[in-house]
Amino acid sequence: MKRREASLLLVSAAVLAYQVLLVRAFLIGQWHHFAYMVISIALLGFGASGTLLAALERRRTTPVAERVPRGGGGWFALFATLFALALPVSFALSQKIPFDPYLIVWDRRQWLYLGCYYLVLFVPFFAAATAIGLALIREPEECPQLYAYNLAGSGAGAALAVALLEVAPVEPALLAVSGLAQGAALLALVDLAPLGRRGRWLVVAGVAAMAGLTLLWADHPPAVRLSQYKGLSYALNLPEARVVARRSSPLGRVDVVASPAIREAPGLSLVSPREAALPPQFGLYVDAETSGAITRFDGDTSKLAFLDWMTTAAPYFTWQDAPRATRVCVLGAGGGAGVLLALRHGAQQVDAVELDANVIDLLRRTFRDFSGGLYDRPDLRVHRAEARAFAQAAPGVWDVIDLSLVDSFAATVAGVGAVGENYLYTREAFEAFLQHLRPGGLLAVTRWVRQPPRDELKLFATAAAALERMGLSPADRLVLVRSWATATLLVKKESFTAAELAALRRWASERLFDTAYFPGIAPGEGNRFTVLDRDHYAEAVAAILAGGARREQFFREYAFCLRPATDDRPYFFHFFRWRALPLMLATVGAAWIPFVEWGYLILVATLAQAALLGALLIAAPLVLLRRRASSGDPAPSPRPSHRGERLQVFLYFLALGLGYLFVEMALIQRLVFFLANPVYAIAVVLAGLLLVSGLGSGWAARRLRQGSPAARLACFAALGVAATVAVYAFGLRAALAPLLAWPLAARMSVAFAVMLPLAAMGMPFPLGLRQLGRTQAELLPWAWAINGCASVVATSLATLLALGAGLAAVLLAAGACYGVAALLAHHWESPPDGPA
């Protein structure tokens, strides 16, 4: 590998690692949908670099075919250096912008701040993209080989980012990536041909600036700016509040806060007695958002009476008249509230499932004494695992499976989706949970109540669908208990007995909880304590249980999407419905704002912005290139391009840009389930897909040298990808499901094997560039711009498509894109012989 290629590899690695780390930083300081939008738009830097490349091309008079193959190193070095300089500056500046997404509806200044975000974050991506684009399009003949380095570098960058986050918080990890970018710049600078005096001074200035920035960073490390509206910010305003422990991993940053004013008892009954006062607690925050608490425990469960005064205790009181020896599985155990509840009710054995090793470690070590050695008890088994995968693959059966207020860590680490996938609340997940219940056992799922009701009704519909699929009638197997703040759904494989129902209802009414649904409920019985002007629960539950046309009509007419999520469309949190928006605006005017499901709208806004800006960025190089043609420059290529050919170029690179990202997005979301860890899924898919497609690109380069025709290679590669993803669309989930119980290493190998046939994804793009270099070289920057913009548009488009039509549809769409590319490649004319 030569220095230039090594430099290209490092730039590619650094820019991808930077992207992953930036998302992580934004998840801590802000909210995931905004993080996603801001970074998507900044990534349009890749599209914009095409415009700059076109402008640079305009200045050049030598036709591509006659150029010195290794020319243009100066520009590459310049932009690599610019990237290395912009990366730390851009991050530090971005953390100074006082942007508050909540205010954006009212405060015009926030739009300015948002624009500042875009601009500030855009620069490093733009510089890196220009450097990479220069490397590729200035040597179109070498494109497949160079593209292989680019892809391999990106893949390594993704893996590196995750590895860095395993050992360090996001800020030092960024410093390391900045060092990587500087390494790339130094390599590029060293590679420059003998320089004049001025050139030498410029190089010295660049190196000095990089060194200066690094020293500055080391001396004043910039910290992630927390929005004042994050839970952690609020907690730190409490009296005597301080962070007593902080851990960091790719899954998120965990903060533990001490303050006498921290009290976590979601939906505690209004009439909970003095004896049920809360023991001291530490607040637990994941990515600066409230995530439960660590409660003081000395082994005496009688001091935990408060736990009985929340709806989460419902399953245990079902059996209060006929106590049974229980085995309990707490999914998403976190600070341990569910575990304490189980112990208080005499559970013989508790399985606590928690994904974040940092949380487990905090309880086992830092807060071991405070939590009474909770996670080291002999009657407790702690499993570091993702809840769904654990329940799916575990050999055990339980009396209670407790899933309380758990929001799985959405796989947003790489901006995967504004509306993240979640495999805990799907119909198939509920089936799996139910299959792991002992006879008479209960699945208990608790969520926050929102008005108008959403989450709890979707849970109800999901459980009903799961029971029906198991051939069981839902009407006598479901109970819904609600307070003003939380709702707990109980699901049983058998019918609830009269004694159980009597015990439950007695317990609930003592606490002023409404039993919103139970088998045999009479009108008005579910709306007695927390009274709604209109009993939406009764109406919704009746419609859902009626099934058939009535249920369908209800789903169609309700203001929020309540259709159960499935493993193919794992979007429990997707409640938004377009048809509700005009009605909302018409009926309540500006007051609609609190009711909007922002995640979805921001996704749409991201797509709209990306499409609009992308169109501009794609048009700009064309305008520049046309001016060049009319200004009478010597023809840069054998003949000027025609409109029809330009259309073909446009479609080809658009299809590839969309297709690649569609595959990437869909695979990440599919493999999150299979690898049972969002971070591994992202690392494996990003790194794996990029690496194997890098291999594909390298292989294509070798085939070309052996004399294979480019058109055929590109055509077959694209067809191969189309066929593979079409098969994956229908068969991947089913094929992977039986392997879920395999150990992680084996599952990772399977995931790699899944991606191996997709090595062909690395071929059509560089082969297309090479072809373009031979026939219409002036369009090379344009092709780069199209690909860059299409990639950004594709991420939000893929998510919208998945929300609307499922992940299989995204894979099929990707297949169609590659099909189009294959068709276009098939029509490539055999090019004139390029330079040897």
Binding site: Y229, R263, P452, D533, H536, E557, Y558
Partner: protein, 258 residues
């Protein structure tokens, strides 16, 4: 050494300065009055367009004349940070720092109305914020006790309320979880800072027949008002109502096709 001319100059300069100062002061007063007049008009408009407006269904619009009067009287612009003064009367919540907000005017009015405040009553507020809600309650009840947990906010609110002459409002900086036992029981309680549960001690400090209101949602998105009423048949005689403050009902009960 001062020459004879200096005193003359001094006199002549004072002859100029004094009237100029007077004029300036008068102008400032006029402007201030004009300003106050503008703000008064904006308050009128706020009440007309946001609080009693027909866009709310009849049960949602605020009707209580005393509450409307209090909303008209209370200078909301004095309870927001300087840079938010131009927005003070707009139909939106406003940030007051420390991750806290003051609710949009309609929500404040609705919460106040739901409390059914009476002149002889005693009110407790948890979460003073800038003091606006306490100021609105002040003319409607006998005493307002308000607790703010964030020290700088509480101190600023205490000064502000005193400066504006709200004599029946007492501000305490501290943890409101245990209420204000020395002054309990209360006829009305507002809990603007409920996190994940309503503190049971507050329910205990509610008088029989008393009313408690809790806005639910994040600072910028109040979605529901929870109204707790305590009956006279003992501590468990409690009813909770969950109210959607907007006319959302047509949307959820099977939307009509237009």
């Amino acid at each position: 050494m001062r020459g004879p001319g200096s005193s003359i100059r001094k006199k002549s300069s004072s002859r100029v300065v004094v009237p100029v100062c007077f004029l300036l002061a008068a102008a400032a007063l006029l402007f201030a009055q004009a300003d106050e007049e503008t703000f008064r008009k904006r308050r009128e408009e706020m009440v007309r367009t946001q609080i009693t407006s027909l866009r709310w269904t009849s049960s949602d619009a605020v009707r209580d004349a005393r509450v409307l009067k209090a909303m008209r009287q209370t200078p909301r612009h004095r309870f927001v940070p300087q840079e938010q003064v131009p927005n003070a009367y707009e139909d939106r919540p406003l940030p007051i720092g420390y991750g806290q907000t003051i609710s949009q005017p309609y929500i404040v009015a609705k919460m106040t109305e739901l409390l059914e405040p009476k002149k002889e009553q005693r009110t407790l507020e948890i979460g003073t914020g800038s003091g606006y809600q306490a100021a609105v309650l002040s003319p409607l009840v006998a005493e307002v006790y308000t607790i703010e947990i964030i020290e700088p906010l509480g101190t600023a609110a205490r000064k502000r309320l005193a400066a504006l002459g709200y004599k029946n409002v007492e501000v305490r900086v501290g943890d409101g979880y245990y209420g204000w036992p020395e002054k309990a029981p209360f006829d009305c309680i507002v809990v603007t800072a409920a996190a994940n549960h309503i503190p049971p001690p507050l329910v205990e400090q509610l008088k029989a027949g008393g009313r408690m209101v809790i806005p639910v949602g994040n600072p910028f998105q109040v979605q529901t008002l929870v109204l707790v009423t305590k009956g006279s048949k003992g501590p468990r005689d409690i009813q909770v109502r969950s109210l959607m403050p907007v006319a959302f009902v047509p949307l959820v009960g099977g939307a009509k096709k237009n």
